[in-house]
Every structure is written in C-alpha cells, then in structure tokens.
C-alpha cells in the first residue's frame, strides 16, 4: 500500500516537474512546481517526516511560490515564444544532464543494509536497525514526544546556534530584498 501511494506521488512529482520546465507561460510553470511540492510533501509524510511535510506545504507551496507568482504578475510577463534556448544548447544541456543523472541514479540501488555497512564499516546483512541505532532512536522519539517535539529537541539543543544564525540570515534577506527592490531609498 505504501509503495503504491509512493509510486503515484512520485509519478505526479516527476510529471509536474517536467511540465514546470517545459511550460512557456511562467504562471503555468509556477503552478506545476506547486504540484511537485505538494507531491513531495505527501512523500515526506510517507517517510515519517510529517512535520517537514507540513512545513513544505506552508513555506514552499505557500510562501515561496506565492512570492514567485506575485513577482511574475507584477512584471506582467508575456509568454514569449523565444524563452526556450535553441536546439544546440538543448542537446548540450541534455548531454550534461545525462552525465549528471547516470551517476546519481546509481544511488537508487542503495539499501538500508548497505547504508549500515558503510556507516559502521562492518558487513551488515541482517536488520539494519541494529547497526544504525540513531534511526530507531528517532522513531522512538517520534512515538514518545510527538512529531513536532521530536524535531524540536535536536533543533533547540544540538542545533541552537545555527538556528539563531538563521534568524540573522532572514533579517538580512528581508532588509536586502527591500533595499534592492525599492526605487529610491
């Protein structure tokens, strides 16, 4: 059942990603990208990352894509026919993509056993959970503290300093966006 839902969501994600890069109208591109992000949010839920799935919908499909649509409509972009590059560039691009995708696709053969073997440095043939206790600990934390609490503990303890730096990054980005987009300061 999980595999079936995953296949449907994955197929939808890939189809909408392809539609996103091939649509000439930027608004249609943005809408297809929202579709990809919703499908990915569903996949996150399947992968036991419910909090990340919710954040994906709120931040990516909500805030970021609304910003994109806002700018597209503000600039009143027409769908020019010449937006796609010519055939020579497309073929070179396809070659580059194949060169990148072939090594990347080999990671699809990764199994939890092989991951455990590489992390521990010993051959793990049985249950990978025994060799990777962190995964079991994470699952236990989700059961004990709930979906949000389990993510909050490492976020506010182990990663507290990066979290605080993130707030400075967001402040800088907000000020920078205003400065860049304003006509006269």
């Amino acid at each position: 059942m999980t595999e079936l839902v995953f296949s449907v969501l994955a197929g939808f994600a890939v189809i909408s990603a392809i539609a996103c890069i091939l649509q000439r109208n930027p608004v249609a591109s943005a809408i297809w990208l929202v579709g990809t992000m919703f499908a990915l949010a569903g996949i996150y839920v399947l992968l036991n990352a419910q909090f990340i799935g919710a954040i994906q919908v709120l931040v990516y499909a909500g805030a970021v894509m609304v910003l994109f649509l806002f700018v597209i409509m503000l600039l009143n972009l027409s769908n020019d026919a010449g937006d796609l590059r010519g055939w020579p560039t497309r073929l070179i691009g396809a070659a580059i993509v194949v060169a990148i995708a072939v090594p990347l696709l080999t990671v699809g053969r990764y199994t939890p056993q092989r991951l455990a073997s590489e992390v521990t440095g010993a051959v793990v043939s049985g249950d990978p959970a025994a060799a990777l206790p962190a995964g079991q600990a994470a699952l236990a934390a989700v059961t004990a503290k709930g979906v949000v609490g389990a993510v909050a503990v490492p976020l506010f303890q182990q990663y507290l300093v990066p979290f605080e730096i993130t707030s400075i990054l967001l402040l800088t980005a907000a000020v920078g966006a205003v400065v860049l987009a304003k006509r006269k300061i």
């Binding site: 992968l47 600039l75 990671v107 053969r109 994470a138 966006a177």
Partner: protein
C-alpha cells in the same frame, strides 16, 4: 523504508532541475528550477533521516530557510533588473559578458 525509490526520485528531480536551468532563458523560471533542485536534495535528507536520526530533518528545516531567503533576495534582484532592461530574458542581461 523506501530508501532506494526515494533516492531515485530525488536524482530524477535534480536532473530535471539542472535541465531546466540549462534550457530556459527566463530568469524567474530559472529560479524555480533551482527551487526544484533544492527540493530534490531535501528529499534525500528526509529519506536518509529515517536511518540516521532526526538531524537530517533539522537540516531540511535550514535548507528551507535558506531557500526562502534566496528567493526573496533573488526576486528583488530580478525586479530591479527588470526596471533597467524591461525584460527578465537572460539574452538581454549581458552587462558583465566580456
């Protein structure tokens, strides 16, 4: 659970994003392709977080923050370029080309 299929999907989405960056000339669509690549990497993090603990999910949180900041600043830059050139086509954004 679903480690291999997730990593495959992530690789496919990343490749589609790279292809989009290479074939499009519209700066805004280029940005969307970059978001697509960031999403593909997030999927890798979440898939591996099932076995490696919740640090992967925390890292996805940070990646999303950086992506939101990047989108805000990048779109502001596109907006000010549009004011000068009346276009977001990369064909006309060639001031630094030698």
């Amino acid at each position: 659970m679903l480690l291999g299929p997730s990593l495959t999907l992530s690789a496919i989405l990343f490749a589609i994003g790279v292809f989009g960056v290479l074939i499009r000339r519209n700066a805004i669509v280029l940005f969307m392709c970059i978001e697509l690549m960031l999403n593909a990497v997030n999927l890798t993090f979440v898939a591996l977080a099932q076995y490696h603990g919740l640090s992967g999910q925390v890292l996805v949180f940070f990646v999303m923050t950086v992506a939101a900041a990047e989108a805000a600043v990048g779109l502001a830059i596109i907006l000010s370029v549009f004011r000068h050139r009346q276009s977001v086509d990369l064909k006309y954004i060639n001031l630094l080309r030698g």
